[in-house]
């Protein structure tokens, strides 16, 4: 590696890692958005994954892969338990239930002995590195990109667009909404578990309400119509403080102000997020048939004119 690259990584290595972690968490929320549901519990699922993996590694000497797998699975099981009763209903019930669930997880982490209480879990071995984080990001991104276009992906999209119409054409809406919620929770749990082994210490506050809202903002700013939208949002908003520092604005209240302005501008002028700047939505996947359909559409328009 050239000296420049080495120096860059030495300075920004931890930032690059955090960008990857946040991108993964943003993707976990994206999956529920995909099926038209709003979850405020994904930070808590990350917390479940992080504490599960941390405790397994520290108290039981479990190997790294076993710890993070267990973290992901346990988060998924928790999502299934909450999701099954709540997702039979429509509307804001999932947001409310997951909001409450997030608080339950945080308070449990503060009060339990095994999680280290308010001080957090200290001394988790530092096993995670950038390769693991970005390997996981590539794997999750590929998984979601392939899910699009499958029976599951089409069902998610149909439910998001119109749940009644989706059910009338044969989609078991409760099943697919729960599936989206559980997949999201597994991704969040996996990310939390990876994060626990990155940071030496995890505390309950990191997985609270503000973290859940932060994930929401990544999704809104990046855009939830395609899988790489949330990644874009997470990258930009995680890197933003460093960029601001570069132009002479130190952290503090001004940072939150800039975050707020960006969020407002995106909501007002780019309701489909930043990705809508370089991608036209609504059209079919597969460039060939898209071209065909478009040229056919143009033909129709010119005939009509």
């Amino acid at each position: 590696m050239t000296p420049f690259v080495i120096k860059f990584i030495a300075i920004y290595g931890s930032l690059i890692n955090f960008i990857g972690i946040n991108a993964l968490l943003a993707l976990s929320l994206y999956v529920t958005f995909w099926a038209g549901q709003l979850s405020l519990g994904n930070a808590a699922f990350a917390g479940i994954g992080a504490y599960t993996a941390g405790v397994l590694t520290m108290s039981f000497g479990a190997p790294y892969v076993a710890s993070i797998s267990a973290g992901a699975v346990l988060a998924g099981i928790a999502a299934l338990v909450i999701g099954l009763p709540v997702l039979r209903l429509r509307g804001v019930f999932l947001a409310m239930a997951t909001l409450a669930f997030g608080e339950v997880v945080r308070i449990a982490a503060v009060n339990l002995q095994i999680t280290g209480g308010a001080q957090g879990l200290v001394g988790i071995p530092n096993v995670t590195n950038g390769w693991i984080i970005y390997g996981a990001l590539v794997a999750v991104g590929y998984f979601l990109a392939r899910l699009r276009g499958s029976r599951i992906g089409w069902s998610f999209e149909s439910i998001r667009e119109d749940e009644t119409a989706a059910a009338a054409m044969g989609i078991n809406t409760t099943y697919y909404k729960t599936l989206a919620f559980v997949i999201g929770a597994v991704i969040a749990g996996l990310t939390g578990a990876i994060y626990a082994h990155l940071n030496f210490i995890i505390t309950p506050g990191e997985f609270g309400f503000s973290a859940a809202v932060q994930l929401l903002i990544y999704n809104i700013v990046g855009g939830t119509r395609i899988w790489y939208g949330p990644i874009l949002g997470a990258v930009l908003l995680t890197a933003l403080p460093e960029v601001l520092r570069g132009v002479g604005v130190t952290a503090g209240p001004i940072r939150m102000f800039v975050n707020g302005v960006i969020l407002l501008l995106v909501i007002l002028y780019l309701p489909n997020g930043l990705v809508s700047l370089f991608r036209r939505f609504g059209a079919s996947k597969g460039a060939k048939s898209e071209e065909r359909a478009e040229s056919a559409a143009d033909g129709g328009a010119s005939r009509a004119a």
Binding site: R146, D162, T164, A167, A168, E290
Partner: protein, 260 residues
């Protein structure tokens, strides 16, 4: 006509919303391979009945048998899986998806589209995708909006939206098609095209239950018509019988029209 089997048997269906009785014992049967008209004044309970038949609304009492299987207590996706598709009076398209994608989404019950071959990037997944895409394009051609395939459904004209809803319903190869005012707001040319489409579907063995306010359209197209009023069946018969029935005349023109 007499020899045809009963595909849908509706018996004594009641349903009220609060104090309003939408259906008060509606009963009739739909024979296989016919276009069966369902007419009645506004508020007669036609749309509520379609909602019951598609599993969206549960009846208070009564039964609906599709191919001798009870469907009135099933959730919508189970009814759809038996081969019942529908359109909506207030049009429920997937507005931000393209027309083609709307139809592709409608193939849920017939297209496998398994995830694993896609994940592994197998060519079989790509072939399957192309096959279903072609078929969806065929449905769009059938309803006459193939030239709009790449356009988002939200930007279609009113008549085109109604056609797209029919195409999406056809995507699952249903045996029974429930159409809730499919030609509302269409011009004469569109009316004739949709009429021709429905006739050709029935010739291929499909059965259609059609709600429509355009009387001449219903009279020309349907071999049997059921008239609902205040949630009750007034008469089920041929267009000629229905047109002569005194209660139908009363329901449509008002009881006091002679004295007006």
């Amino acid at each position: 006509m007499e020899g045809r089997a009963v595909l849908l048997d509706i018996d004594g269906i009641t349903r009220s919303f609060g104090g309003v009785t939408a259906l008060a014992g509606a009963a009739f049967s739909v024979k296989s391979g016919t276009i069966h008209g369902l007419i009645g004044p506004n508020g007669a309970g036609k749309t509520t009945l379609i909602n019951v038949l598609s599993g969206i609304t549960k009846p208070d009492s009564g039964s609906a048998l599709f191919d001798r299987k009870p469907i009135h207590m099933l959730p919508p996706h189970r009814v759809a899986a038996l081969g019942v598709a529908r359109t909506f009076q207030n049009i429920r398209l997937f507005a931000t998806m393209s027309c083609l994608d709307n139809v592709i989404a409608g193939q849920h019950l017939v297209a496998g589209r398994p995830f694993l071959p896609r994940l592994l990037g197998l060519s079989s997944a790509r072939h399957e995708e192309l096959k279903w895409r072609e078929q969806a394009m065929g449905r769009l051609e059938r309803v006459g909006i193939a030239h709009r395939a790449g356009v988002s459904a939200g930007s279609l004209s009113y008549g085109e939206r109604r056609r797209l809803e029919i195409a999406r319903a056809l995507a699952s190869n249903p045996r029974l098609l429930l159409l809730d005012e499919p030609v509302a707001g269409m011009h004469q040319k569109g009316l004739e095209e949709v009429g021709g489409l429905l006739r050709s579907l029935v010739q291929e063995g499909m059965t259609i239950l059609l709600i429509e306010h355009n009387m001449s359209f219903v009279m020309r197209l349907c071999s049997i018509i059921t008239v609902l009023n205040f949630g009750r069946t007034i008469i089920t018969g041929t267009p000629e019988e229905v047109a002569r029935h005194p209660q139908v005349v009363e329901a449509y023109l008002g009881a006091n029209c002679d004295h007006a």
